[in-house]
Symmetry: C6
Subunit: 253 residues, 6 copies
Amino acid sequence: MIVIFIMILERCPSGIPGFDELCEGGFIRDRTYLVSGVSGSGKTIFALQFLVNGAKEYNEPGIFIATEERPQSIREYASTFGWELEKLEDENMLAIVDATSTKIGLPSDEKYVDIRPFDTRSLLDQVISIQDEIGARRAVVDSTTSIGFMINDVPKFRIELLKISTTFEILGLTSIFTCEIVEGSQAISRFGVENFVTEGTVVLRFERSGNVRIRALEIVKMRGTKHSYKMHPFDITDNGIVVYSGEEVITGV
Amino acid sequence: MIVIFIMILERCPSGIPGFDELCEGGFIRDRTYLVSGVSGSGKTIFALQFLVNGAKEYNEPGIFIATEERPQSIREYASTFGWELEKLEDENMLAIVDATSTKIGLPSDEKYVDIRPFDTRSLLDQVISIQDEIGARRAVVDSTTSIGFMINDVPKFRIELLKISTTFEILGLTSIFTCEIVEGSQAISRFGVENFVTEGTVVLRFERSGNVRIRALEIVKMRGTKHSYKMHPFDITDNGIVVYSGEEVITGV
Amino acid sequence: MIVIFIMILERCPSGIPGFDELCEGGFIRDRTYLVSGVSGSGKTIFALQFLVNGAKEYNEPGIFIATEERPQSIREYASTFGWELEKLEDENMLAIVDATSTKIGLPSDEKYVDIRPFDTRSLLDQVISIQDEIGARRAVVDSTTSIGFMINDVPKFRIELLKISTTFEILGLTSIFTCEIVEGSQAISRFGVENFVTEGTVVLRFERSGNVRIRALEIVKMRGTKHSYKMHPFDITDNGIVVYSGEEVITGV
Amino acid sequence: MIVIFIMILERCPSGIPGFDELCEGGFIRDRTYLVSGVSGSGKTIFALQFLVNGAKEYNEPGIFIATEERPQSIREYASTFGWELEKLEDENMLAIVDATSTKIGLPSDEKYVDIRPFDTRSLLDQVISIQDEIGARRAVVDSTTSIGFMINDVPKFRIELLKISTTFEILGLTSIFTCEIVEGSQAISRFGVENFVTEGTVVLRFERSGNVRIRALEIVKMRGTKHSYKMHPFDITDNGIVVYSGEEVITGV
Amino acid sequence: MIVIFIMILERCPSGIPGFDELCEGGFIRDRTYLVSGVSGSGKTIFALQFLVNGAKEYNEPGIFIATEERPQSIREYASTFGWELEKLEDENMLAIVDATSTKIGLPSDEKYVDIRPFDTRSLLDQVISIQDEIGARRAVVDSTTSIGFMINDVPKFRIELLKISTTFEILGLTSIFTCEIVEGSQAISRFGVENFVTEGTVVLRFERSGNVRIRALEIVKMRGTKHSYKMHPFDITDNGIVVYSGEEVITGV
Amino acid sequence: MIVIFIMILERCPSGIPGFDELCEGGFIRDRTYLVSGVSGSGKTIFALQFLVNGAKEYNEPGIFIATEERPQSIREYASTFGWELEKLEDENMLAIVDATSTKIGLPSDEKYVDIRPFDTRSLLDQVISIQDEIGARRAVVDSTTSIGFMINDVPKFRIELLKISTTFEILGLTSIFTCEIVEGSQAISRFGVENFVTEGTVVLRFERSGNVRIRALEIVKMRGTKHSYKMHPFDITDNGIVVYSGEEVITGV
Ligand SMILES: Nc1ncnc2c1ncn2[C@@H]1O[C@H](COP(=O)(O)OP(=O)(O)O)[C@@H](O)[C@H]1O
Ligand SMILES: Nc1ncnc2c1ncn2[C@@H]1O[C@H](COP(=O)(O)OP(=O)(O)O)[C@@H](O)[C@H]1O
Ligand SMILES: Nc1ncnc2c1ncn2[C@@H]1O[C@H](COP(=O)(O)OP(=O)(O)O)[C@@H](O)[C@H]1O
Ligand SMILES: Nc1ncnc2c1ncn2[C@@H]1O[C@H](COP(=O)(O)OP(=O)(O)O)[C@@H](O)[C@H]1O
Ligand SMILES: Nc1ncnc2c1ncn2[C@@H]1O[C@H](COP(=O)(O)OP(=O)(O)O)[C@@H](O)[C@H]1O
Ligand SMILES: Nc1ncnc2c1ncn2[C@@H]1O[C@H](COP(=O)(O)OP(=O)(O)O)[C@@H](O)[C@H]1O
Ligand SMILES: [Mg+2]
Ligand SMILES: [Mg+2]
Ligand SMILES: [Mg+2]
Ligand SMILES: [Mg+2]
Ligand SMILES: [Mg+2]
Ligand SMILES: [Mg+2]
């Protein structure tokens, strides 16, 4: 008699309609994933939706580290999808770290503010103390690309991202790192190293097909997971992203 | 009973024929947008028209920061479209900041002159004091590309643009940053970072289709907005830009 | 009753057969234009013809700043088209500035010689003093590309060109800057900044179509001007350039 | 009578279904091979399977040098294929060197930890001492690309890899170096030098064919070996990689 | 009555069968021309043939500046075409300057040796003194590309080439500068500046058409000259280059 | 009566089946040739076969300078083709210079070892002393690419290669320099200068045609030689390379 021992890793569902069924139920718990795409491809919405769903549907608090825009913009932006971030923040289901304001010399009246200049150590300390407070299970860094520009040294950037992702893993956070790629490039990351520190990569395509742009999602890598190898169309609706997991992109997008 | 809470963000219409209907009525108030395109694609005209319409149709004063050419050239240029900038300036509906002359060692007899060399702090002080005077609601930086060359350090350039856009947002200015891209590149920005500090990107195409060039406008990104994903033809007429929002570009421009 | 105020800018015709009718009668007075093209595309001939026509047909003296070859070569070259530059020089209708000889350590017996190494200030002083003498209305810098190599610092190069073009504008000179682009590139300038300091760009194409090269002229940008968006074939004849404004390039040049 | 002397080199079978029959029975003993591919192409699985098969089927202990992720992640990952690394480690059939944790400033409770910063000498000392302990016959460095980023000097990187591969050869280790290449590039290595220090290169393709990605394996170089020149499809199954040596990739992947 | 004054510039025929008829009888006297092409395209043969024909058919002595190989190799090479350089050297119809040997630390027993390291001044002094001796009318620099690598600073390289070509012009030398371009590039020069110092450019193509390479010659630029705009096939025969001026390359070489 | 003097240069046949008939009987004596190709294209085999044939068929001793792998690997590798290098070494028909071991800090028990770090002078001294001993007529440097990485300065690399090739020429050695080019590039050399120091270039292609790779040999340049301009298929057999000189590659390899 042969006994096959296969460990089943626990999943952390994104709750994004259509996505989790492409990858055995979602991300693997406590791991970090890269969500890449050109400007406007939907990365920020994907990441927010992951946290909002976590809080509302799975009762898992989340942390949003904003390196590109001020928390107030994010709150307003989220509200256009009916996501009331302030409410979640009040309930200790969400914490937003302002890693933007002081970087550009502006004061911040946010609760969580990252000191300047960019310093991984201080950012992680902040996350650890937030953990004490809210016991988060999910995290987002939006975007790693800003961090890359702040660090401005590719090998060092790789190491710092690795520190962040490993610490998140140890803290029990399933996380998304967003990454903005350049229009027209085939690369799946900006600086060519972001995918080194992550367990998988989801690419959000927003490419021209003739006179119109089409949105499609592709799971390029996801360790420990039998995932779709196809590109699936998705929409950005009034309620956020909806992936059409049963459909395929027809044209040569 | 389910109550869906969706916040509707206030719009700032460009007043450019055909444009606002592509994006739920125009830009979002107090946000910054990138208008990209190759040389001659119509960026300066788009930006001027946004301010002139603001002043004349919506009674909103505007600020034009000229980093590429002297205000006098701009006034003459605008006059070819029947836009009398001096008149608007006299009425305190428009202020033009000369951020060119002193940069090249020439005296300026303009009212608003930016000191040399390029310094974000002093530029923003100037804008703040203009705000005191005219209470502007709209602003233009034409072009960020010149600033990029002046700063000559991409990560620093990103930070400086972020300072400018965030300050404009705080000052209550809806603004346009123009960005000149290189012919033949697929990128939507020159230095690869301009779109990081903006809420959306409008690309003005001016590409060869066989033996002729065709003008087309594409909204590549606009947060919080259901916008067209298509390329729409536009013309530069005697009265400025007219976008054919109902038409599509047929050929493979 | 609505009164539309449209300022009509004064034109400076090139006098090149077929060209002026493509752009409402020619260049705008006192502005600078870029004439770009690969090696051998006809830039020097275009620029010389602009000055010779200015002197002979419109009684406007001109200045030719030679950064690439010695004035004597230019005179001989012009003579192959029947243009007697010496005669024009004697009549004070043309001045040639030798900005080449001393740069390479050779003596110059020219009347106007630019000191070494390249220095914008001294070049402009020279132009100003020529202006005193001959009251020029047109000017040519052939080529900016040599200056770019001499300066060897792109942001500085942009600033220096901006100084030159602005000074020329103030001096009442309508001018052409030539720019040599690299075969096979789609760019319209060599260093990516030349078009920033000019009011318009004319590209002279000399591209292979099958086994033969075809010459075509395209106005890529011309502010304040309703110009052709097409590529028009042209020839280099015994009398210089002739543009076939009524014809189009058929093949996919 | 002619006697032809042809030395037959000893083989080290990978045990990966379908692979060894493509190359006369597997790798040549005591040599180093490069396994290249984009992110998600299957390099880590290939390398693990090579070691697990070595231990379980051929009774050959192995060493896994982890430069990208912490051993614990690797153990969990392996378990998804039913490979119980801890068991092998307990039996002294496998040693995992943690060359990640201390690099990012984290403590490691692993048995074998590489000191920081990256130093070839210390890594090789560690390997030599492991050899004393377990008498390994196989080794894996996953990945060289991380080492390349740590060294950040291409010529030095080449020398260090050469040191490692030569030392492994002397220690009697047949080894695999993984190498992550960039999506869209045709190169078979990241820094253009990795293949210089290895006896052969296996490329794992994971390229889009229309709307879906297809996996294929290609032996690009294998010295002393008559190998397939074709691309063979492969799958990642619940038990790891299965190469379809009898099949060919049809489309123009 | 209109008198058209057109100066006819004196020609310097290459004597290469088929070439001179493509360009009104040959090069313009006392000017410098670039002969570009990939490795093996025939540049050295073209240049040698120009000098040999000059000496034998037009009684014009020539100077060959060898920056790439030692004069003895060139003599042997020339002999394969039946060109006895030593004989021409004995008759003072040819001088070969060894600008190679001392550069690599070898002694030279040549009559004319250029000191090390590369120094334009000393090279030109040498040429001037050769002029005194043999009264040369033609010169060759084979190749400028070696000089470019020796100088290793593009703007300086341009200036040095300009010094050489201008001095040659003053010395009454019609000259050829060879330039080796990289396979697969569309550029007509290696460092992008060689054509700046020359009066014209001849490109020798040696491109694959299916499974075979085809030789073709194209005059890309020749000032003051009505030249062919086509690509003409040519052969390298036992007597050197033969251009088929009446034929065209059919395929899309 | 016309007497045509054409010098016939002495040939050094490679002895590789099918090759010499493509180029008038082989290489020119005492000259250096570049053998380029991607990794795995057959360069090392070609070079070894040239030496082994020289020793066995033409009684010409040879020198193999190994910059990439240790002599012992080369001996084992050669043995897979039935070439017993040790035997040739014992008969003083072959000398292998170990220019690898000490570079990476390993001891070498080879007879000929090149000191560290890379130094052309010491390498050439070694070759000169080997010449005294065995009177070699052929030499191989496998590969120049490793030397290029060791020198890490392109202009210096060119000079050093020129020193080596010129010294070999003076020593009476016909030699092959191998050069590893990057997959997907059209260049015929790695650093763009290797072909400058050689008399000819042979490219070994190993390109994908659909799902399979095809081997083909092309003589891109061979001075003083009427050679094939075609690509000829070749195989790597149990006895080394066999070129099918009468066949052509059909597909668009
Ligand atoms: N409320 C909305 N309704 C519909 N589409 C929206 C809405 N908000 C944003 N979008 C779309 O999403 C895009 C921006 O998505 P986002 O996630 O912010 O992009 P990024 O990938 O740059 O982070 C916008 O350009 C727009 O096309
Ligand atoms: N008065 C006008 N009438 C028609 N077209 C014009 C007029 N002025 C400018 N244009 C067109 O607009 C182009 C320049 O637009 P502009 O906005 O200045 O370009 P940029 O994108 O470089 O800022 C010109 O090249 C021309 O084609
Ligand atoms: N006298 C002439 N007759 C006909 N064509 C000429 C004459 N002189 C020059 N040309 C053509 O013009 C080209 C050079 O034009 P030019 O303006 O000097 O080029 P560039 O763009 O490099 O400045 C030559 O290569 C040739 O094709
Ligand atoms: N347990 C599994 N079942 C099926 N496929 C898997 C499994 N684990 C990983 N994969 C596939 O393998 C890919 C990762 O392979 P891996 O060897 O880690 O890639 P890399 O080349 O980046 O090292 C995943 O993206 C997924 O497609
Ligand atoms: N004697 C010859 N007979 C026929 N062809 C030759 C002869 N000598 C050289 N060739 C051809 O000319 C090519 C080299 O020409 P060369 O002018 O030296 O090239 P390059 O452009 O590199 O200077 C050789 O590769 C060969 O194809
Ligand atoms: N004994 C052999 N039998 C058949 N093919 C072989 C043999 N040895 C090597 N090869 C082929 O030759 C290739 C390596 O050739 P080599 O000359 O070492 O390449 P390189 O161009 O990298 O020096 C191998 O990848 C393999 O395809
Ligand atoms: Mg975003
Ligand atoms: Mg503009
Ligand atoms: Mg010119
Ligand atoms: Mg991996
Ligand atoms: Mg040559
Ligand atoms: Mg080799």
